[in-house]
């Protein structure tokens, strides 16, 4: 006959409630780990998906994710010519916050180097990669748009042709993919009036200069759209992504490019590191501390619960001692209840977590090692928490029954 099980059987409701409480507490402990794992996953997701060997960004920046990087698009052919580089892709990344149905609508805009990169490497849930150079987009499903929906951004309207799953930026915003030019258009979108004023300003500057006065044709050129002006560079991009030829020495190629005065180059691993050691690392320590405190709180609460359960049974424990029960019977009773509570709490944390975490606005990623770690923590908490109850139980005197 198992005393712990009998007690639990006859006080089922109370135990269930207690276990539920512990379960929710453990669920938060689990969730804390999951939030961190989710952040790491999200932070590195795009970097891993894009699968570039080298990242070329604006000199001395930690771009394009950790901070803003702007480099001329013309770097692409320059980089393509570097020995060991198989291909170079221009890459645009920026975050926009618009409004949709009165709610803030945030997402990060990714420019894909059409036609080389049409988004075929993306984890498409439905739909297809980009099929034309303009006015199509692929969105993550967390953006809340439907396949085939038409979305107006800036002066253009885009059709959603594909939906991805789990594509969020390092800050948890859903991603949307466009062709490079469209992405730039969204980024550098200016109202017509601003464009007119800009052109007028150019014309005025030209007319004020000697060259402009001598050659009236120049004034006409100055007032034309900026892409038509050879003196104005094309819009900048965030980075250029390099894929190396098989067998090429990434370090050697990186050294060559690092010698250029206008860019900084990162390997795939360094790019990952930039994100993980930056904002994510601070979040990790923050979450880690919270987690440690939560574990401590759980242990204290568990201790008090076990202690109270023991006090409730003080009379029964005195009786057990009177009829000669060994200490291991009494310690076993308390320890087993603590372990059962811990185990049920753990199971509840897991089950409730599976359901609850999917409703969270950001990814909560529960990993196998995290679950194993929690199991160890719960085991330790249960054992430590029984300490107080056991200490009390061993001090109960059987002669208290006489009064």
């Amino acid at each position: 006959m198992n005393l712990a099980a009998q007690d639990i059987r006859h006080n089922g409701g109370r135990f269930a409630l207690t276990a539920a409480g512990i379960g929710l507490l453990l669920m938060i402990v689990l969730g804390m780990g999951g939030i961190y794992a989710g952040m790491v996953y999200e932070a590195t997701l795009l970097i891993d998906r894009l699968d570039a060997d080298l990242w070329v960004v604006q000199r001395s920046t930690r771009g394009p994710f950790a901070e803003v990087s702007r480099i001329p698009a013309s770097l692409e052919p320059r980089l393509s010519a570097v020995p060991g580089v198989a291909s170079a892709r221009r890459f645009v990344y920026h975050t926009v916050q618009r409004e949709r149905a009165g709610e803030p609508w945030r997402f990060s805009v990714q420019g894909l180097d059409w036609p080389v990169d049409r988004g075929q490497a993306l984890p498409l849930l439905t739909g297809r990669p980009l099929g034309q150079a303009h006015f199509e987009m692929i969105a993550d499903r967390t953006l809340g748009v439907a396949l085939g929906e038409r979305v107006r951004l800036g002066k253009d309207t885009f059709t959603v042709v594909g939906l991805t799953k789990g594509m969020t930026s390092s800050s948890g915003d859903p991603m949307a993919f466009f062709t490079l030019r469209d992405a730039q258009a969204i980024q550098f979108d200016q109202p017509g009036e601003a464009l007119r004023l800009d052109r007028e300003a150019r014309r005025y500057r030209a007319s004020a200069a000697e060259l402009g006065q001598q050659q009236p044709g120049l004034l006409e050129r100055a007032a034309s759209p900026s892409p038509a002006l050879p003196v104005l560079g094309p819009p900048t991009v965030s980075a250029v992504l390099l894929t190396l030829t098989p067998g090429a020495d990434a370090a050697a190629v990186a050294r060559t490019i690092a010698g250029w005065p206008d860019v900084t180059v990162y390997t795939h691993a360094e790019q990952r590191d930039l994100l993980l050691r930056g904002s994510v690392d601070r979040a990790r320590r923050q979450i880690g501390l919270f987690r440690a405190i939560l574990v401590l709180v759980s242990a204290i609460i568990m201790s008090l619960i076990i202690y109270t359960l023991t006090l409730d049974k003080a009379h029964d424990i005195a009786m057990l001692k009177l009829i000669g029960a060994r200490n291991r019977v009494i310690v076993g009773l308390i320890l087993q209840q603590a372990l059962i509570l811990g185990a049920v709490g753990y199971a509840l944390a897991w089950v409730i977590g599976q359901w609850a975490f999917s409703l969270f606005p950001r990814l909560v990623l529960i990993t196998g090692p995290d679950l194993a770690l929690l199991a160890v923590i719960v085991l330790l908490i249960s054992v430590v928490a029984s300490g107080l109850g056991i200490w009390k139980a061993l001090r109960i005197e059987p002669n208290t029954l006489l009064s």
Partner: protein
């Protein structure tokens, strides 16, 4: 219904169930000192049923708990079943192990474990004494049948009447064939009829199982059940010369 004799009768051991020699218990010290028991000496033979009488505060419970090895005496010696167990406050054996092998307790309250059924309450006393679960269950059922509670074995204590609970407590006290049963006002919470029933029950098992039984009681109507009476007065023990006032009647069947 006639109470059936227990199949598993205890091995008959000749001699004394308990020998107490010069037992003194002093509580506290200085000017709050209370001498609860002074120089008590007596013996109880196996199969003998003794009543311990005395006014409130005379030291009956103290004496009983000292013999029950849950309240060490200040001075004096105790031997149970021929084995010396206490020399003053110093235990000579593992007290808990000794309790589980040799002693049975019944108190004013049944003190049943509330989350165990009647059967399990008896069973637990057997299992802590290393009786295998199956055998323990069989013995518990046997005892409960014997005490007329066979049909209540699956009830939790709160479903049982006071008298029924007390009978379960008696079953628990008898489970391990104790050589000494100590009962502190076991019938105080019961009415006259039930009270007598429990007393006679104790007497019956004392005789059948050859156990010594000491019962603290205030109930003078049931004194005829006992073989002998001891009286306490202000900590001092006074033995009644001769047997109980009336000869004990033949054990009546349980209702």
């Amino acid at each position: 219904m006639t109470a059936p004799a227990l199949h598993t009768a205890a091995p008959v051991a000749a001699g004394f169930s308990v020998q107490v020699d010069g037992l003194t218990k002093i509580y506290g010290g200085g000017n709050t000192e209370v001498i609860a028991v002074r120089e008590a000496s007596f013996t109880v033979a196996r199969g003998e049923v003794i009543a311990l009488l005395g006014p409130s505060g005379s030291g009956k419970s103290t004496l009983l708990s000292a013999i029950g090895l849950i309240n060490p005496p200040t001075r004096g010696r105790i031997a149970i079943n021929g084995e010396p167990v206490m020399d003053g406050p110093r235990p000579l054996v593992d007290l808990r192990a000794f309790r589980r092998h040799h002693l049975g307790f019944v108190f004013q309250k049944a003190n049943l474990i509330p989350f165990l059924t009647a059967r399990q309450n008896v069973q637990v006393a057997l299992e802590v004494n290393d009786v295998a679960p199956r055998a323990a269950r069989a013995r518990a059922d046997e005892l409960l049948d014997y005490l007329g509670l066979g049909d209540r074995r699956h009830n939790l204590p709160f479903m049982l009447s006071g008298g029924q609970q007390q009978r379960v407590a008696v079953a628990r006290a008898l489970a391990n064939h104790p050589s000494l049963v100590l009962a502190d006002e076991p019938t105080a919470a019961l009415d006259g009829h039930l009270s007598r029933q429990v007393m006679e029950l104790l007497r019956q098992v004392a005789h059948e199982q050859r156990a010594g039984v000491i019962v603290v009681t205030h109930d003078h109507r049931a004194l005829d059940v006992f073989d002998r009476t001891l009286e306490m007065e202000d900590g001092a023990l006074r033995e009644h010369a001769g047997p109980a006032p009336e000869p004990a009647p033949v054990v009546k069947p349980l209702s």
